[in-house]
């Protein structure tokens, strides 16, 4: 089975990271080809033909596209592209909720399945599309690095109580709420692990950086994968006050390191062993009760990590490919 997976590999974005891990794990089950998509700029017609050529060159049995609205725009051209494909196609929707796009799949013959990463997304997409399949987000294989080692590496005191948030500094990620939360806590070591999408910062980023400076919050900027993992391992509590979310790589990395994760109460996070909070005040309270909450959740975290291993999720994809080529 030859699978061509289209994604903006190696770019600084979650879809690229997700796809990179998945293709590697998939190579155990199928002959996978990673077709790199250029995520910036509009989908020129000439670009679509160019991309199509690269897909055809590997003669795939299945094409799998890792989709996010922002990286395939405008959607009319993306639909056109899907219609140009003449092999069974799977699309993973990392976000859903644009009806004009979401309802288009049913009329495109080549698209055999539209994958979403959790039931919350499935419930939205199913309103517009009959080809929805849930293949959950995976818990990634993370490097072994102890909290002690990580703290030594990152120059964080061993006795500190580290409260961190990870991901792009972005309004949707609620980095400002994180600052509200840590401003109400005493005796913690707060860290923002993240930069911004390109080399440019926005006003939001500038404001966050200014306030973080005033509060004495450590801000790392964009970090390499190795450092990202080290910061997670070094943390006691991971806080993700996300305003808008469809899934979270960071939550899964944090769970892989068996961390207590405090999140905003968003539907896509309901199936996860995390502490959901309705406000910044609740987050403050949860962090204060971290030890107690962690003891309660630890068993659930272990089970979740086993059920959502990268290898198991890769196998689910492989099974889906077998199904769509039948």
């Amino acid at each position: 089975m030859r699978v061509a997976m289209v994604s903006p590999y190696l770019d600084r974005c979650g879809v690229a990271r997700y796809s990179g891990m998945l293709v590697k794990a998939l190579s155990k089950y199928v002959d996978v080809y990673a077709i790199r998509h250029h995520r910036f700029g509009e989908l020129y017609n000439s670009y679509l033909s160019w991309l199509l050529k690269r897909i055809k060159r590997v003669s795939p049995d299945v094409v799998h596209i890792q989709h996010e609205y922002g990286i395939f725009r405008p959607f009319e051209r993306f639909v056109k592209f899907l219609r140009m494909l003449d092999v069974p196609t799977v699309v993973t929707m990392h976000t859903v909720g644009v009806p004009s796009m979401d309802s288009a799949y049913d009329s495109i013959d080549s698209v055999k399945a539209v994958v979403v990463l959790n039931e919350a997304l499935a419930s939205i997409l199913s309103r517009f599309c009959s080809k929805v399949r849930v293949i959950p987000f995976f818990v990634p294989d993370v490097p072994l690095i102890s909290k002690e080692e990580a703290r030594n590496m990152l120059n964080i005191p061993q006795d500190a109580f580290v409260v961190s948030t990870l991901g792009f500094i972005d309004y949707r990620k609620g980095t400002d709420i994180f600052l509200d939360v840590v401003s109400k806590l005493e005796g913690v070591y707060p860290i923002i692990v993240g930069g911004w999408h390109t080399d440019f910062s926005t006003d939001y980023v500038k404001n966050v950086l200014k306030r973080a400076g005033e509060l004495g919050v450590r801000v790392t900027g964009w970090v390499s994968d190795d450092l990202f993992y080290a910061y997670v391992s070094a943390s006691d509590v991971i806080v993700l006050p996300i305003r808008a979310i469809t899934e979270s790589f960071t939550v899964h990395v944090a769970l892989a390191y068996r961390k207590l994760v405090v999140v905003a109460d968003a539907d896509p996070l309901r199936d996860k062993p995390v502490v959901r909070c309705g406000s910044a005040g609740e987050m403050v309270e949860a962090i204060r009760r971290a030890d107690e909450l962690y003891k309660k959740l630890r068993g659930d975290i272990d089970r979740y990590v086993a059920e959502r291993s990268l290898d198991r999720i890769a196998k689910m994809h492989s099974d889906l490919y077998s199904e769509v080529v039948r």
């Binding site: 080809y33 700029g41 509009e42 050529k53």
Partner: protein, 388 residues
Amino acid sequence: MRLLYVSDFPILNTGYAKVSRELIYRLVVDGYELCYLPIAGLEGGAFSRDVFGAEVLPTISSTEDIAYWFFKRDCDVALILKDPYVFTGIEKLPVFHVFYSPVAEEPLSAQYKSITQTAMYLWIPSRWGIRVAVAGGVHPDRIVYVPHGVSKVYRRYDDSDVEKFKEQFGFTGFDVVVGIVAVNRRRKFLPNQIEGVKIFIENNPDLKVGLYLHTSPQADNYTLHGGWDLNAVLEVFGLLDITRFPDPYLYKVGFSEKKMAELYNAIDVLVNATTEGYGLPIIESQACGTPVVTVEHGNGPEINFYKLSARVASFSYTFVGTRIAVPDPYSIADCIEKALRVPEGVRLNIAERVRREFDWDVVYKHYVKRELDRLEAELDPKKILEVV
């Protein structure tokens, strides 16, 4: 891997054209399929549709042409050797591209950053430029050091040959000839550099000093780049009689590499005391055993193995607030004196070092090829599995 190569056409008399001449045939010989999209140089027409085995496309007329030809010729990556400022809007094109561009001012301008923000990599030919880019917010992971090189024709000739070269260039009768190789544009501060030579002459009244300006006496595009009426400037300095310019026609079409090597052999010291993103004359001159005076700003000190850099007198600011160095003419004069005292053995050692470290074959193999291999690995559907 098929490359869309975007730069000045090789016949031009520019640094980019010179670098292109060295890169193009090596890329072709190395098996890359190459489409050459010239930025300038084909206006007159009547040139081959093929250069060194690379297809030559019509001269670029807008940034969009890069996307047009990239897709039309089914390229994998566009390699752009030029100042990014020329390509406003490329950041919005769905084209995998790399900028091989100098940083020749600081801090990094917002425009430079904006234009290059979606490039896979920035190949920057100086570590100084890399520091400026990183300080300006470009993530270090996107920056690679890829220096320029020097052709094998740049070497020290026998004394008898050198005497012939001096004669050809009209340098007979001078004890010392100071050379300046620079385009006649504002950013080169030619009057300030010439003033340094004037002070050197005043400090050494017994020495018969000649000045060779490898440039055009008139600014080539004053409105765009500034420049000077150099004859008038030299008249004011009282240096007109001792100054030589190249034949205007030969200068316009460009000296051959061999002719430039002869020139560097014929002069006694090269003054290149301006902020450089790279500074090809600096290594070419040293490869010929001729000392160079740079300025303490930009890439010059990094590749000046004589460590003769003039002080920065002040900075001049561009219209967007970035700055370039204005050299101190007194310091230039001191450096010229020191340069002339460097023993021949040291000059020959430096020449060998430059020829060894910056030979284009070495630069190509250790920097350019390595980076192209990386690009290939990041774009090939199978190889990429090793790097994602």
